[in-house]
């Protein structure tokens, strides 16, 4: 930590989250609440086929309908705008808001209708006559890899966007030298974090001020940049309003195609334009699907269960286009060995396009699927050796005294005490008792299993996976910022420069500044200016805000504290070292009765220039722009790089039963040990973990964007995309531990992805433990009731046949 905080007054105390006040009375400011005079509404026309050439679009019937102002097609939009920003260097795979000449997935947006109301726009959208020529299509990633597969983008020549292999350490030698090997295939089904609020955007172009005002349910780095680039206007002509409350995002609210669409329309048509996705548009064509990943894992280990080396191929089915999402193959590199001391790794990242909906970033950015692959493998290693799965993990884990620990891919883990976290969980819930309960449940005829997972949450958003995956990218700067001003009457206002989607950032900022200035955080106003009034922010991605926004607020507050102390010392006529700051006042250490109060200092700074130190700006305004800790270096030639500055840790322990006749799983007990360093606000962190576990249970058991053989999304609504309700999420107990980070101002690490990163793996391991007595296993998520039921029935039948056969002779 840069400055040891000593006894904490506000940080880590059980404070209310100030944002809650407006939400419990229904006074959030969501994008659908934004209403502008003369605002018009957009509805989309979508392609019904997985691949088709667009032969013609007849707008006449639609334009003749009441209240319709305009019909925009892909050709017009493509002529006026640049393609959307992509992460990979793939110029022949352009991505646009509306399909240009060819539509590449069922649900892709082909035209946009603008009308007086959303209902009228939908009426007119039905009247648009689009003529398609169907094209061959491909849906499966492995098929897309094969020569002879239908091509999603003809000009690209293949369906492969990325195929990169990294070798860190002596992999081949380690495999040759190891007595034992194991291979596993793990499939993570296409799912996403699906917020209850869909994406929405309102844009309004003022041609006299030359400003494009944008209100959006957005969570995206470089949002204003991307708007300006695509619309070919200066970014200083784009004003994004960060005071829109985002109704949940967990990664996916990237809406750049929606934004470019309405941004163009408002400039073209001269009135504000609004697009709020309805749920059908969102599910099929909102481009907010998540990873669909196939892992092939090989490990080399010894008879004690020590894993020496790992090979992993990750094949990602990206969908028809790619924005930033292929980078989700790169982020896990920063924790590719999990919490284990695996000494060499070969990692092959392959991203292919298919005729499915485009993916977006999802909570964890690829870490949750990767953790399933790693943790299923650890369990299988334990099983192969007849060793306890917790014991195998303990043997492989990095020990507390070994931190900071550099993993083969180049990232140094900051701190951790994994063994203590496990000890704490098992002290809270006896492993032996849990095993006895599992056995008792088995004796009643149920299947029962214990699921274990240990995994990391890399946090801080040092997103060097960009340069690692695409060497043309040289970005090493990842910023956040905070500005604090004390006004002429002494109240404190701080600004943060991005939107939030429920993480309590205003509370975070108030708490940290209050801690530094030793004033009640509730007296600190926190606001969000728009993008033209903001300092740089990397936005809430990569579990970074506690570290980055917390850090920026901390540093800004210290600058303010220093300024106040300096002004006071000067006015008291004492050397700076004798001036002591406490609770908003500054006094002479040698003569404490000589002091300047907060009001005195405000008076001097704002109105008594003659009392100010020379060379000091008047007023009390400070700001701090912070670079990510440990950031700033590019990858080495052999693909090693420091990624995220901090690693939080979680240990999941689940007891689960399965009704063998129905295949119905039920989680009976859920414990999670969680260490995210210093906890700035316990209520917020607990909520994040609980929510993450619910997301994880959804991904493990219920949620899938399933497609049929004709390229149609079968889960188009919430009737078929199954979100966990309160019945599906068991009571979860969190056992918190604190191992501070040496890289952050208060020892805090991130926790925005906690729970989600480990829950799917833990559930998968529990189910496999339950199935083990039947000699079957499953490594395909989500693990659905019907599939489980059929698997169990088949295994029982085989067992019966075998028993009969044995009897028979």
């Amino acid at each position: 930590m840069s400055e040891a905080p000593g006894r904490l007054r506000y940080v880590s105390t059980d404070r209310r989250v100030r944002e809650d006040r407006r939400f419990v009375v229904g006074k959030g400011n969501f994008v659908a609440d934004v209403s502008l005079l003369n605002m018009k509404h957009v509805a989309l026309v979508t392609c019904p086929y997985p691949a088709a050439a667009i032969k013609s679009i007849d707008k006449s019937a639609a334009m003749a309908m009441r209240g319709v102002h305009y019909v925009l097609d892909g050709r017009e939009l493509a002529e006026a705008t640049l393609p959307l920003m992509t992460g990979l260097d793939t110029p022949n795979v352009p991505r646009r808001p509306l399909a240009l000449d060819v539509a590449r997935y069922a649900g892709e947006w082909v035209a946009a209708v603008v009308a007086d109301t959303r209902a009228l726009a939908e009426d007119a959208a039905e009247k648009l006559k689009v003529v398609y020529d169907k094209l061959p299509f491909v849906l499966d990633a492995e098929q897309a890899l094969q020569t002879g597969s239908a091509l999603v983008h003809q000009a690209h020549g293949s369906n492969v966007l990325l195929d990169k292999t990294f070798v860190w350490g002596e992999v081949d030698k380690d495999f040759a030298d190891s007595p034992r090997h194991l291979s596993l295939r793990v499939k993570w089904g296409r799912s996403a974090t699906v917020p209850i609020e869909t994406f929405g955007v309102v844009a309004s172009w003022d041609p006299w001020r030359e400003i494009l005002d944008v209100w959006a349910s957005i969570q995206m780095p470089r949002y204003a940049d991307q708007i300006g680039i695509a619309l070919k206007i200066p970014v200083s002509a784009v004003r994004v309003h960060y005071d829109v409350d985002v109704g949940g995002s967990y990664g996916v609210k990237r809406g750049i195609k929606h934004t470019v669409l309405v941004g163009y329309l408002t400039r073209r048509l001269g009135f504000p334009v609004r697009l709020i996705e309805d749920r059908l548009e969102n599910m099929r064509g909102g481009d907010a699907h998540g990873p669909e990943r196939l892992f092939d894992v090989d490990v080399a280990f010894d008879d004690n269960g020590i894993i020496r080396s790992m090979k992993m191929r990750a094949l990602e089915n990206v969908g028809a286009y790619a924005g930033r999402s292929p980078f989700q193959l790169g982020k896990p590199v920063g924790a590719i060995v999990g919490p284990y001391k695996i000494q060499s790794v070969q990692y092959r990242a392959v991203a292919v396009v298919t005729n499915k909906t485009t993916q977006e970033a999802v909570r964890g950015f690829g870490q949750a699927p990767t953790n399933v692959a790693i943790e299923r493998t650890i369990d299988e290693v334990a099983h192969a050796l007849g060793l306890d799965p917790i014991e195998v993990r303990r043997r492989n884990m990095i020990r507390h005294e070994e931190f900071p620990y550099t993993i083969p891919s180049g990232t140094t883990y900051d701190s951790g005490d994994y063994h203590t976290v496990i000890d704490k969980v098992l002290a809270h819930t006896s492993y032996e008792d849990l095993k006895k309960e599992r056995d008792r449940l088995r004796s009643t005829g149920k299947l029962a299993g214990i699921g274990i997972t240990a995994c990391l949450e890399p946090s801080g958003g040092n997103a060097m996976f960009e340069a690692l995956i695409n060497p043309k990218i040289t970005t090493t700067t990842f910023m956040d910022s905070c500005r604090i001003a004390v006004d002429g009457m002494g109240s404190i206002t701080a600004t943060m420069h991005t939107t939030s989607s429920g993480q309590g950032h205003e509370t975070l900022v108030g708490t940290v500044i209050g801690e530094v200035l030793q004033v009640d955080p509730d007296n600190i106003r926190v606001t969000r200016p728009d993008s033209l009034n903001s300092l740089p922010s990397g936005t809430p991605v990569g579990s970074r805000m506690a570290i980055m926004l917390g850090g920026a607020a901390f540093h800004a507050a210290n600058k303010l504290k220093t300024k106040l102390t300096t002004i006071a010392a000067h006015d008291l006529g004492i050397p700076l070292e004798r001036a002591a700051y406490a609770n908003g006042e500054v006094y002479d250490r040698n003569a404490p009765q000589n002091r300047r109060t907060w009001a005195d200092l405000v008076q001097i700074a704002h109105r008594n220039f003659h009392r100010m130190p020379s060379d000091m700006e008047p007023g009390l305004a400070v700001s701090h722009v912070m670079q990510v800790p440990t950031g700033g270096t590019l990858p080495t030639a052999d693909g090693r790089v420091q990624m995220y500055p901090c690693t939080s840790f979680e240990f999941h322990l689940i007891l689960l039963t399965i009704d063998p006749d129905l295949g119905l799983p039920e989680i009976v007990c859920y414990r999670i040990g969680h260490d995210c360093g210093t906890v700035i606000n316990p209520k917020i962190v607990r909520g994040m973990t609980m929510g993450g576990v619910a997301h994880g249970i959804g991904a493990a058991l219920y949620e899938e964007f399933a497609y049929d053989g004709e390229g149609q999304l079968m889960a188009q609504s919430f009737m078929d995309y199954l979100l966990p309700s309160s019945h599906e999420v068991p009571a979860v107990e969190i056992i918190q531990h604190v191992t501070p980070s040496p890289n952050t101002v208060l020892g805090q690490k991130g926790s925005g992805e906690s729970g989600y990163l480990g829950a799917p793996a833990a559930v998968a391991n529990a189910i496999n433990d339950a199935l083990r007595p039947l000699g079957i296993s499953t490594n395909t998520l989500p693990i659905k009731v019907s599939v489980l039921g059929d698997m169990i029935a088949e295994a029982q039948e085989k067992a019966q046949e075998k028993a009969q056969a044995n009897k028979g002779h």
Binding site: A119, E126, D661, L662, A706, A715, S725
Partner: protein, 295 residues
Amino acid sequence: MKAAPFEYSRPADVDEACALLAADESARIIAGGQTLVAMMAMRLARPTRLIDINRIAALSYIRDDGETIAIGATTRQCLVERDPLVASKVPLLARAIPWIGHAATRARGTIGGSLANADPAAECPLIAITLDASLSYRADGQTADISARDFFIGPMITTLPAGACLTGVSFPVWRGAKVGVGFHEVNARRSDFAFVSAAAQVELGDDGLCKRVAIGVGAAVDFPMRLERAEQQLRGSALDDAAVQAAVTDALADIDPLADLHASAEYRRRVAINLAARAVADARAHAQGSKNHAH
């Protein structure tokens, strides 16, 4: 997801509703709307006129008709759920209703709406089939009855004549001293449409043997079905587990189960057998322990 435009009528009585229906073949009745409004939002249903029968008082009742309990078509599912008459006289219905959707949908959804909608996985049609309920409807100024058996003929397809409005359903009351019920449903999440469901009602004689049994299975095929072959085999038996298992297995051997995103055909067949057996076992146990207040 805004519905296509339509006209709206709120008739004062059923005959007026039928007249409106007859006048426009694209007009539809709306009661609870928990299915219809969602379909309209997705523009899968596009009635030109909605005929709102929610406030026709004569259609909302729960009545003891002696041999039967009569429930009006627009009676809210939540009222049926809480009704003491239903609990004592049609316990199988009382057992099944809480499985319909969520409390918020049962607050608006109606018994008649569920029956007229005829979703193969729905609870009300299954209970109606299992108990040989009789449905009544109004058309052209006349009231007619139709047995549940003859009513459900396909997924969302009934024999309700065009221009007719369902007015009520009557559930026969089993008067024996030892009557028990069982109901099971399996789905991914508790409130989802069932993958498979099963309902059973059993009456035991003084000798403890099965005097009467009715078994129904839902969500397995295009409409809820009775396991009549199984009922025949089990009548007079002790309803021991092996006999029940054999009987329901036999009764379900020839069905062609549905396969979809949520469950395979084999799953539905296998689990239909399992749930039917469980429902019968529950009903037997319930009957053995019961003091039936029906009289």
